[in-house]
Symmetry: C2
Subunit: 328 residues, 2 copies
């Protein structure tokens, strides 16, 4: 029997959008059940608490179609009430600075994902853009233990390889790489080697596949067939249950924001990040994934490209849900 | 002709005391010209600006005997006016978080020394207590360039070996290890290998020798003769002009403070730092160096143990002054 997309649990495991009513309506009409939304990159403690407060207003103004989820049960409730559940995540550990007690403070405010690093080294670990990756530090180990205790997902996106290996080894709970692709698909500092993916899966970890052009074969010109072929190859490598989508969709931002994401305030020069052509603009999305509701395109294309309905539904949501259920 | 101690420029290249009138009077009567005073370890940006403000009160209340120095000329003026010059330093880069612009903000407030790390990894570099030292990171290189530009001394105390080597190599200005001893004298994570000392000196760098018990042969029972013998050996290794005193004197603090220095808020467990016996108290100082004015003991003992007056005066002050003169 054919699965009806809108009846299923559909999850995007990472988006960083400049949210407004239009974007919320798109994912609501598009049948998404839950979205892990990035709140900060370089923001310090105070600024990060502010970002959380800003969501109070969004939840209030859009309470007919979205709600805040702190547990997988909240996600199920949201589905029942025909709302899109929003999960909070940080793409860096900058908000906790050197203070392990802030992990719980942010957890209490709903934070459910935190990256150890964002490209650069942090007190916790090494970033994927560092020439030398420290792996997980003394503080990093302590924070991972604290995240494990609370039920906050350790996110290894933007981490260096040694950091990924250390965190997979050290974490008592399965860890996620919420938005990246395999290096066998497209070699990039942000993408992941086979040996890491295999170790990740062996410890019940998870990868959300990215639609950010710099992580894709042929960037914005990547075909959906190539993307689906990558998914099939990855299923063969690590097993379907460890795979979902973390689209890394960054809609409705001016170009200044992509430069801010790359540079924060850590350099007075200009760092072009993943752009080899030194572009200061957002890269062009593949035509088949320009908005949150395009997750349906991926579902349909996976079915057209060799997956069963059941398998495709796992990739676009159920797998993320089952993974999250182990944490919160 | 015999040098009169009190006529000379006498500098302690690092102290972390809980300052009060009594301590200021001790160093004033003791003939000290200048002290590099530690303001923070783990404090964040806001807390660090607060620590600077606290000094306004100290300078005001003790203006007859101390003053704030931002330049080596200020040190000479202080000497002329019979006051002890206080230089500000941070024993960590926590105050600048991920913001390179804060280096200049703190410089404007008088900060003249900043460590890249304090035992643990930071976004800038690797700490001496980390099992794996990252060396200097992307942000670390940018901050070193900024410190070089401004005339703020890069302090490598509490850094890992690779970080020391990277910073010595990368910095366009000579760098300091403000308070540590050679590992040939006493092997410790906080002390320094010969090859680093040689490279440091080759690039006109500087080491301030520490009187903190964990950095000394036989700890608090270290004899002044052993200390002086170490100084002579170090002179032979790297040349006298690169050597001064950075006593690491930590007077007038309760035991809670040594535990806070070790643990900050980075762990919920207890880290005993350099104490092998897991002591939670301040270690006992050698009897010949229990207060700032005891720098005179070191001067006199160096002369009794084979140095000329001129050489001994260099060690207890002139060398630091000449080194600082290259920066501010």
């Amino acid at each position: 029997m054919k699965k009806e997309f809108s009846d299923q649990i559909i999850i995007d495991g990472l988006q960083y959008c400049n949210w407004n009513r239009e974007l919320f309506e798109d994912v609501w009409k598009g049948g998404l059940t839950a979205i892990h939304a990035t709140l900060v990159y370089w923001e310090n403690t105070e600024e990060s608490f502010e970002k959380i407060k800003e969501w109070d207003l969004r939840f209030n103004e859009n309470k007919d179609i979205i709600c805040h989820a702190k547990t997988t049960n909240d996600i199920l409730e949201a589905k029942k009430n025909n709302k899109v559940a929003i999960l909070f995540g940080f793409q860096n550990s900058a908000p906790i600075a050197n203070d392990i007690y802030l992990v719980e403070s942010f957890f209490q405010k709903g934070l459910r994902f935190m990256q150890l690093t964002y490209n650069n080294q942090t007190p916790l670990a090494g970033g994927c853009f560092e020439p030398k990756d420290s792996g997980v530090s003394r503080f990093g180990k302590a924070v991972i233990e604290e995240m494990n205790r609370l039920g906050m997902i350790v996110d290894l996106s933007h981490a260096g390889k040694q950091t990924c290996l250390d965190a997979i080894h050290h974490s008592s709970q399965p860890v996620a790489i919420s938005h990246a692709n395999p290096n066998f698909f497209h070699k990039a500092l942000r993408n992941i080697d086979d040996d890491v993916l295999i170790k990740l899966a062996k410890k019940n970890g998870f990868i959300g596949l990215s639609l950010y052009p710099y992580h894709l074969k042929n960037q914005g010109k990547c075909t959906i067939e190539d993307f689906c072929a990558m998914v099939r190859q990855l299923i063969n490598l690590i097993g379907i249950e460890h795979i979902g989508i973390g689209s890394d969709l960054c809609n409705n931002w001016p170009d200044e924001v992509v430069m801010w994401m790359r540079n924060g305030k850590w350099t007075k020069k200009i760092d072009y990040g993943e752009s080899i052509s030194k572009s200061t603009a957002w890269p062009e999305q593949p035509s088949w994934f320009t908005k949150g509701s395009d997750l349906r395109n991926i579902f349909e294309s996976l079915v057209l490209n060799g997956l069963t309905d059941d398998e495709a539904i796992k990739i676009v949501g159920i797998n993320w849900f089952e993974f999250m259920k182990n944490h919160f």
